[in-house]
């Protein structure tokens, strides 16, 4: 590649855009993955927690004397012993004006605030012995009244979900354009609906896991932590336990799924670190599946009332939306539990040129597990509400759903465009995506088949859902609110003495293929193959500081960081080669492991030779030559505050109208994530994302009884999507790179999840609509479908 300051990716970048396989995948296939759950350190103790069986209550007494005598037990901690070690944390941010949340600490002190709230911690030689001792802790809790339903919690005289709250309202906001009421007043049509989106949860197959190892002699704390965000936890552990940041090392090895769930702060991880600090021994905590269900963050839990105003031709004039999101007893730290609802009200109507809008958000406390950010934060709710209303309007106007959308999508030539909710879109491609989807799914043929089958009593439905996805957030996302959550990433790239490349980078890998993508990008800057680029991630001691992996920033921000670091090293190599070869560096380039003549491509010297000379024979270099073959680069996004992406999904379902069982037959996605670095990985991110959207649309729901008990907290009763029920997914692409970066890549990880549920909801309504039925609640269980059909 020619050394130049060109800001483009050229056709000479041979690996960006190619479907490279993930080298790390081979380890997993051989059973050689190394997860936190696999780690065993000498003298390591195992932690188990005694949890509140009640959703709300006052701790009268905790008697740990029998537990302390139980075989294998080393220590039993309660709040009194452990909490003083830790600075409490509060899940509020400044830019969410006037939001409130009570401070949290390691173990429940006087009151228990959800069923599952940890009250005592046992440390024993084995997990089994720790659990034996848990049974011996005598817990006397006086049961109190729990806040269970969000609407009831907002009543003036409702009990408070946590001590010290003036009300159960965590946060409230209203977004409004000037003419929204006029739009409804003069609308030819208004459609509306009340929607309920159930609580669900991440159910990563590897549960949360942490091994904390404090070495008192050196003052070093090492935490092996199954997380997406090691730097965030380095900062948190240092601040909340008053340790020097440089003495805190967080290592995230292989992580068995995260999806946003593993970047929040949890009582158990903090308590595990505290216990290690106290005992000076390694302590391991692995949540078992039951604990996961009552302590991992949950997601969604919205009740939305919405209406949409249209003119006589079916042009969308405005939406008016009221979202209540129910978050548990606390707002989660450090990102808060408000971001989800905030994105719901800001993403409503996002694909459409709708001029007016009002969105009200109320975030409400209750005595349940906290909810917070999970894959596609807010997107599925905004998308489902918007698209359900668009379909209702289409029915009302007698328009085909595709035509309805064609009339209202923001045209591809209308950018830059600012949405009614205030988002600035650089360049999206809704029209191109719609057109591609129509061809990909053979829409007209499907409609014909649907009509034919209906004559035979087979009820199929087709649902369409365009979407906008928020990716690559800048500091405007959390940083301005005072959160120590990095918006930038860092990379260090070096040429080894044998001419290979190592890249240490702050973005992390949980199976998305981050390391592969980074290796492709770096390889192209240095004229080597991706296999020659060793990428290191997930260790705060060995990689530069950065935000890591969330909000779809791995490829867009991490990739740009790697690209710039690679180019910096390229400049250093060419400068050195110029001195060795007595050539102008501008006439040199890197290709196929060599320094080559930039114009002719003739090989001048191997990279291995550069490495050898710079490392072993710097004495042969001209006086003053810089033999550095390491480049460090940090990059923070500027320009647009987010890189929005877009796409469209379609779902084909068959509803058994006698049993209410919905069968997913096929699913289509057309997606525009900007520059595609690796199409294989992009497609599989989309497929996985789609299934994470279909799960909650049909199966997944955290069920609670009227006393605040979660009643399906096991994998036998909480229904995750499995192989037999999920459809094949056809994927197409449109590529509109962002001009904010050289790489031009946007995010893709949440696109699948964003609209899959909306497409399925519309498909079911399309199937049962002719029977006069409608469903506005997910998951669409057989019971709810039967109710919609009037069978119950």
């Amino acid at each position: 590649m020619r050394s130049s300051d060109t800001r483009t990716i050229s056709a000479r970048d041979p690996h960006i855009g190619q479907a490279h396989r993930r080298e790390t995948a081979r380890r997993h296939l051989a059973g050689r993955g190394r997860f936190v759950t696999d780690i065993a350190l000498p003298r390591m103790l195992h932690a188990a927690f005694v949890r509140s069986p009640m959703a709300r209550g006052r701790i009268v007494e905790i008697d740990t004397s029998d537990a302390a005598q139980s075989p294998g037990v080393v220590r039993v901690f309660t709040a009194r012993d452990l909490n003083p070690l830790c600075q409490p944390w509060t899940g509020t941010l400044d830019h969410f004006a006037s939001m409130v949340s009570a401070p949290q600490n390691l173990l429940a002190e006087d009151e228990v605030l959800w069923a599952g709230h940890p009250v005592a911690m046992i440390l024993a030689r084995t997990r089994a012995e720790a659990e034996d001792a848990c049974e011996l802790v005598m817990l006397d809790i006086e049961e109190g009244e729990a806040c269970v339903d969000g609407h009831a919690a907002l009543a003036e005289d409702a009990v408070r979900a946590a001590p010290g709250l003036d009300s159960n309202l965590c946060f409230q906001t209203v977004l409004e354009t000037k003419a929204v009421d006029d739009a409804f007043a003069c609308a030819a049509h208004v459609v509306e609906g009340d929607f309920v989106f159930g609580r669900h949860t991440a159910v990563t197959l590897e549960p949360r896991a942490v091994v904390a190892d404090f070495d008192a002699a050196s003052g070093q704390l090492t935490v092996h932590h199954g997380t997406q965000t090691p730097y965030q936890f380095q900062d948190i552990y240092a601040r909340h336990f008053a340790l020097p940041e440089s003495r805190v090392r967080v290592i995230a090895p292989d992580v068995g799924g995260s999806f946003g769930m593993k970047l929040h702060l949890y009582n158990e991880e903090m308590a595990t670190v505290a216990a290690s600090l106290q005992l000076g021994r390694p302590v391991k905590f692995v949540a078992d599946r039951l604990e996961s269900f009552v302590s991992d963050i949950h997601a969604r839990d919205h009740k939305v009332s919405a209406r949409m105003a249209l003119d006589a031709e079916g042009t969308i004039l405005a939406m008016d939306v009221d979202d209540m999101t129910q978050i548990g007893a606390f707002s989660t730290y450090p990102r808060t539990s408000v971001a989800e609802g905030n994105q719901v009200v800001r993403l409503m109507g996002a694909p459409y040129k709708m001029p007016d809008y009002r969105g009200r958000l109320s975030v409400v406390f209750q005595n349940k597990v906290q909810t917070s950010q999970y894959r596609a934060v807010g997107h599925p709710i905004a998308c489902a509400v918007t698209e359900a209303l668009v379909d209702k309007a289409a029915v009302k106007l007698g328009l085909d759903p595709i035509e309805m959308r064609a009339r209202n999508l923001v045209p591809d030539d209308a950018y830059p465009f600012v949405s009614a909710t205030g988002y600035s879109f650089e360049k999206l491609s809704h029209e191109a995506c719609l057109s591609k989807l129509r061809d990909l799914m053979d829409y007209d043929a499907l409609r014909a088949e649907q009509a034919e089958l209906r004559q035979k009593g087979v009820y199929r439905g087709i649902g369409i859902a365009p979407f906008v996805e928020i990716t690559n957030p800048g500091a405007a996302f959390y940083g301005v609110g005072g959160a120590r959550i990095s918006a930038q990433d860092g990379a260090v790239v070096r040429l080894t003495p044998s001419g290979e490349v190592q890249c240490a980078i702050s973005v992390t890998e949980q199976g998305q293929g981050t390391e592969t993508v980074i290796s492709q990008i770096v390889a192209d800057q240095l004229g080597v193959s991706p296999e020659q680029v060793k990428v290191t991630t997930g260790d705060t001691d060995t990689t530069p500081s950065g935000g890591a992996t969330w909000a779809c920033r791995g490829a867009g921000i991490g990739g740009e960081t790697a690209l710039r670091a690679g180019r910096k090293l390229q400049g250093q190599i060419l400068a050195l080669a110029g001195q060795i070869l007595q050539s102008d560096p501008a006439d040199l380039a890197l290709a196929e492991g060599h320094v080559v003549d930039a114009n002719s491509g003739t090989r001048r010297m191997p990279l291995a030779e550069i490495g050898r000379i710079a490392t072993y024979r710097p004495d042969t270099l001209p006086e003053g030559a810089d033999n550095s073959l390491t480049a460090a680069q940090h990059f923070a996004p500027s320009g647009y505050p987010f890189d929005f992406t877009n796409g469209i999904q379609a779902s084909l379902v068959e509803v058994d109208v006698e049993t209410g069982i919905v069968r997913l037959l096929k699913h289509w996605v057309v997606e525009d994530c900007g520059r595609i670095i690796n199409p294989l990985l992009v497609d599989e991110q989309i497929r996985g994302g789609v299934v994470q959207g279909l799960g909650p649309a049909l199966f997944e729901e955290c069920l609670y009884d009227e006393t605040g008990q979660m009643t399906n907290a096991s994998l036998a009763d909480y229904l995750v999507p499995m192989a037999c029920e999920m459809p094949d997914i056809v994927i197409g692409h449109v590529e509109t790179p962002t001009n904010d970066t050289i790489l031009g890549a946007k995010g893709v990880g949440e696109a699948g999840t964003a609209a899959a549920g909306a497409a399925a909801l519309n498909a079911v309504n399309d199937a049962i609509g002719p029977l006069g039925a409608q469903i506005h609640q997910t998951p669409m269980t057989p019971l709810r479908v039967l109710k919609a059909l009037g069978h119950v």
Binding site: A25, L29, E684, G689, Q692, V720, A723, M726
Partner: protein, 162 residues
């Protein structure tokens, strides 16, 4: 109380003394450091801990180590090292049929057993065979593809050598 057990694991004779309460999964992971067998639910609902017991896939979390005494156990490490699943592994790798890798070992063990019983399964037979294996990352399609591709290749190789 502890009990002495003797079993064959990945072709090696193993003698250990265990508490009866120890599951085969914990025994493999903690005593033998065979950490390729993963634990996702410890109640037989996720399939991450599948191993071959007497040649058949079973949940190592639902079998006690003492129950496996006298039996033959094979884990993903054993299958991998003796080359029994090289083509499956290659197909999974090629198709990117895994992401975080936590379900993968159970998937591969199960796929190996499936292809032993049904050499050329239909797509819905593959999905049915995987009905107890939970994957949160992939959406399953790539896994089904990889298994189908392995079956197809094995069948055509067998035909070619016949």
């Amino acid at each position: 109380m502890t009990m002495d057990i003797e079993l064959t694991v990945n072709g090696e004779q193993v003698r250990e003394s265990v508490e009866p309460r120890m599951s085969l999964a914990d025994f493999l992971r903690e005593r033998l450091q065979l950490t390729g067998t993963h634990l996702g639910c410890e109640m037989g609902a996720c399939g991450a801990c599948l191993v071959l017991l007497g040649g058949k896939p079973v949940h190592a979390c639902l079998v006690l180590a003492v129950q496996a005494s006298g039996e033959t156990v094979e884990t993903v490490e054993g299958l991998s090292e003796r080359g029994a699943i090289a083509d499956l592994q290659a197909a999974f790798h090629d198709r990117n049929a895994l992401q975080c890798g936590f379900c993968t070992t159970g998937m591969v063990v199960n796929a190996h057993a499936l292809l032993g019983e049904t050499p050329v399964p239909a797509r819905d037979e593959i999905r049915d065979a995987l009905s107890g294996n939970y994957c949160r990352c992939t959406g399953y399609e790539a896994i089904v593809d990889a298994i189908a591709e392995t079956a197809r290749k094995r069948a055509s190789d067998a035909e070619a050598s016949a």
